[in-house]
């Protein structure tokens, strides 16, 4: 009972301040929305064209909008934005500013010279040092290859026609080439050999679980803000010690272990409450299907909260002031969430980074959550994560108890 009383005291101390309550609720939700939009989830699919914008400047005056533009419009990686004279003048600046992934400038006489031995080259302004630039270049290159392919198809076709019957004159040959080219371009809109991409997920097979920003941002921010909440809960321990309240407590019949347990229970309650709030927000506002396996998700959330409590108690034990608590919490948050793949998937990182990342509890929390929401797996898929999180909880709590100071 004393433990519960102490925990309730901590909670009431934290939640009494409306600003604090707002920090615990509004900030995590704000961040989750922000990052889900940033990672491309946006909350509702198909709301905006997610393809990279590339500028299109057509200086081939007199020609109709080219077949290349059609091929680029069919790309699933880029979307051409036709620039007017004013837009053309600022196009390169827009690439520098990151507003456009690349700019394609069609030179004068491009379509006419396309059929010659020395075609006029397209000018592509692109920063190949950037990921967006590399993607854009790949898409432009592929569209250009298809354009050249259409020209070659028309040529080869004309040669075959000549072998079979021959042309009356140059005009009929040109008409044939134009026709063949046009048919080839049309055929490239729906090429005969395609690649279908499927995601390995029960959710995907049911047509509702595509990898979206939400599936990274929602559990990632949940993990991050579980640590962030220590700014509030950790400071209650420090405040109690620095104001002498803890010393006064020791004069009462409460035992030392009960004081530690009471604070731990307060932290745990606060962390779990915040997690539940973020899980509900993810489920109902962002469409992340946590309820697919509610027991599995709850297990991961509780195990994560227990580790966070261990970390919080350690911070409470080591910190001397409120400011220390805030900074230790922020540092722990940056370190664990960055390394553990809560900010960005570890897939793109180097081998050493991945190896270190897998040693963090946050990695196992993310794995547990994503096994359910992305891979559509069941309860058994989170058991390893839960076991490792619990082991970390014991380790951190043990360190906290070892270093805990009552005075």
């Amino acid at each position: 009972m004393r433990i519960v009383d102490l925990a309730l005291k901590d909670l009431s101390q934290i939640l009494r301040d409306r600003k604090v309550a707002a920090l615990l609720v509004l900030m995590p939700i704000g961040f989750t929305v922000f990052f889900s939009m940033l990672f491309g989830g946006g909350g509702s699919a198909g709301e905006a064209d997610p393809r990279l914008p590339i500028g299109w400047i057509d200086r081939d005056i007199g020609s109709a909008p080219g077949p290349l533009l059609r091929l680029l419009e069919a790309s699933d990686a880029v979307r051409p934005v036709v620039l007017d004279e004013k837009g053309s003048q600022t196009a390169v600046g827009q690439v520098l500013d990151g507003k456009l992934a690349a700019v394609v400038t069609v030179p004068m006489g491009f379509q006419q010279l396309l059929w010659t031995e020395a075609p006029a080259k397209l000018q592509v302004t692109v920063d190949e040092n950037s990921a967006a630039g590399q993607t854009a270049y790949g898409a432009i290159d592929m569209a250009v290859a298809r354009l050249l392919g259409a020209v070659e198809s028309a040529r080869l076709s004309a040669e075959a026609f000549e072998t079979s019957g021959g042309f009356f004159d140059d005009a009929s040959r040109q008409a044939y080439l134009d026709d063949a080219f046009s048919k080839a371009i049309n055929a490239w809109q729906d090429p005969p050999f395609t690649l279908a991409v499927e995601q390995a997920s029960v959710a995907a097979s049911e047509g509702e679980g595509e990898f979206e920003g939400n599936a990274q941002a929602s559990p990632g921010l949940l993990v991050q803000f579980a640590i962030w909440s220590l700014i509030m809960s950790g400071s209650t321990v420090v405040l109690e010690r620095t104001t002498g309240a803890m010393q006064r407590l020791l004069t009462t019949p409460i035992r030392r272990w009960q004081i530690i347990a009471g604070h731990a229970l307060g932290m745990f309650s606060l962390t779990v409450a915040q997690e539940l709030l973020l899980l509900a927000f993810g489920q109902f506002a962002l469409g992340v299907d946590y309820l697919r396996q509610p027991v599995a998700i709850l297990l991961v959330a509780v195990a994560l909260a227990l580790w966070v409590v261990g970390l919080g108690m350690l911070i409470g034990a080591l910190a001397e002031t409120d400011t220390h608590v805030m900074m230790y919490s922020l540092l722990a948050m940056f370190l664990f969430t960055g390394l553990g793949g809560a900010w960005f998937p570890l897939e793109g990182t180097g081998a050493a980074f991945q190896a270190i990342g897998r040693l963090t509890p946050t990695y196992w929390a993310m794995l547990g959550f994503q096994n359910v929401i992305l891979r559509g797996m069941g309860l058994s898929s989170v058991l390893t994560s839960v076991a490792i999180l619990l082991a970390y909880a014991v380790l951190f709590f043990g360190l906290a108890v070892w270093r805990f100071r009552f005075e």
């Binding site: 961040f31 790949g138 392919g149 026609f161 729906d190 897939e347 180097g350």
Partner: protein
């Protein structure tokens, strides 16, 4: 004399900060640590090779393609398997052959493989017969994006060779038929074969520096980038530098509240030192502290991460703007806090939210939604970030006058508001 007193107050504060390992770690250690973390994440084990380390993707290939004697023993599926297992792709792909689609999918489900590629039974048949089409299946772990995207790009290019051959043959066949000419299958095969030969040549040209149709140029940066990682590190550290400058300034301004709580400030008021001189001293200390932080971080990061911050005068201008706005804003922010406990919370919350809105945590992303860019312009952090990004891109001093001007005005207004509130409080 008031100036002397202000300088004494500033010196006392600065000495206190300099003696605190905690302050030093937060000022210099934290931003460098976060940048190093991300730099390390995207670099090789050595971290200094100047490029991103692309992950090796484990691919299980299921080749169901059936070939018959009618196609001269040719198997498009086998060609694709050999392509994926070729030496040239060994640093990107680890391709193994699986017996059937179910086992390959199961391997991906178990995370024993990243990608399963299923080649359909009719791949060669479709390539050699008129009409129709077929689709290969790329099955991948949903948490992976980079590896599957690389595989997708490679296979799409490979398939375009087959598509082009088929399109060339079919266009020819269609046009000959329209003119009532006979369509000889061997002629169509010849067209397809010639196209395939041409596609191979063009493919080599596309991969070389001599692209047949593209003239590629980088946007004209005034400062040549050292490498991709240094570019990324520059953008990330600029975000961290701004975030922690605002934090340092606010933490320094918090000393007014702390001194008030510790009763050293009321004691100071009993001396013949005007309140304005004390506030000015606090301002000078904060200004010098943040300036020192910016200078140390830019120099250290240039040496550690090889970041080229830009033209010296431009860097000086954006640094001045950052120092001024963070100092003013720190005082303004702390004027809302009544106790040091509140100050910590306000600092953490407001600076994090404004940092997020100002784009400090997304500074490494190349293309951001327009809404984010618009929101950033309502925050001092967003304008500061704009200036630093321009500087990193090699902008001239004249190019950064707008963002620097905006942050100076924001800094002056917030300083005036903060100073006024504190003067009233301390009166």
């Amino acid at each position: 004399m008031d100036l002397q007193k202000s300088l004494d107050v500033a010196l006392k504060d600065l000495m206190r900060y300099a003696r605190s390992p905690f302050v030093l770690v937060m000022m210099f250690g934290a931003p460098l640590m976060i940048t190093a973390l991300i730099y390390f994440a995207f670099s090789g084990p050595g971290g200094g090779d100047g490029g991103f380390q692309l992950p090796v993707t484990r691919v299980q290939v299921v080749n169901l393609d059936q070939t018959t004697a009618g196609f001269g023993g040719f198997s498009a599926g086998q060609v694709l398997v050999e392509f994926l297992q070729s030496e040239q792709l060994s640093n990107l792909i680890e391709a193994t052959v699986a017996d059937d689609a179910d086992s390959a999918r199961a391997a991906v489900n178990r995370q024993d493989a990243d990608v399963a590629l299923i080649i359909p039974a009719d791949l060669t048949a479709i390539a050699f017969t008129a009409g129709g089409g077929t689709s290969l299946t790329l099955y991948h772990d949903p948490t992976l994006t980079i590896g599957p995207a690389i595989i997708k790009g490679l296979i799409a290019n490979f398939l375009d060779g087959f598509s082009g051959s088929k399109i060339a043959a079919e266009v020819t066949s269609e046009l000959l038929a329209e003119d009532g000419l006979p369509t000889d299958p061997s002629m169509m095969q010849s067209v397809a074969a010639q196209y395939a030969e041409w596609a191979q040549q063009v493919g080599q040209q596309r991969a070389s520096a001599q692209h047949p149709l593209l003239d590629v140029e980088a946007p004209p940066r005034k400062v040549a980038p050292t490498n991709q990682l240094a570019d990324l590190a520059g953008k990330i550290l600029a975000g961290q530098l701004i975030f922690f400058s605002f934090y340092t300034a606010a933490a320094a301004a918090q000393s007014i509240i702390t001194e008030e709580e510790q009763k050293t400030l009321p004691r100071l008021f009993t001396t013949p030192t005007p309140r304005t001189a004390i506030l000015a001293g606090k301002f000078i200390a904060t200004f010098v502290l943040v300036l020192g932080q910016a200078v140390v971080l830019t120099i250290a990061s240039a040496l550690i991460f090889r970041i080229r911050w830009g033209q010296p005068l431009t860097v000086a201008l954006v640094t001045l703007g950052l120092v001024a706005v963070s100092t003013g804003f720190g005082l303004f922010l702390m004027s809302f806090a009544k106790t040091s406990r509140q100050a910590g919370l306000v600092m953490g919350a407001v600076l994090t939210v404004l940092g997020m809105a100002g784009g400090l945590f997304s500074s490494g992303m190349d293309v951001l939604p327009r809404t984010f860019e618009a929101v950033a312009l309502f925050t001092p952090q967003g304008w500061a970030m704009r200036g630093w990004k321009l500087s990193l891109a090699g902008a001239n001093p004249g190019d950064v006058l707008l963002p620097v001007g905006v942050v100076l005005v924001m800094g002056a207004i917030s300083f005036a508001a903060g100073a006024l509130t504190f003067r009233r409080r301390l009166a």
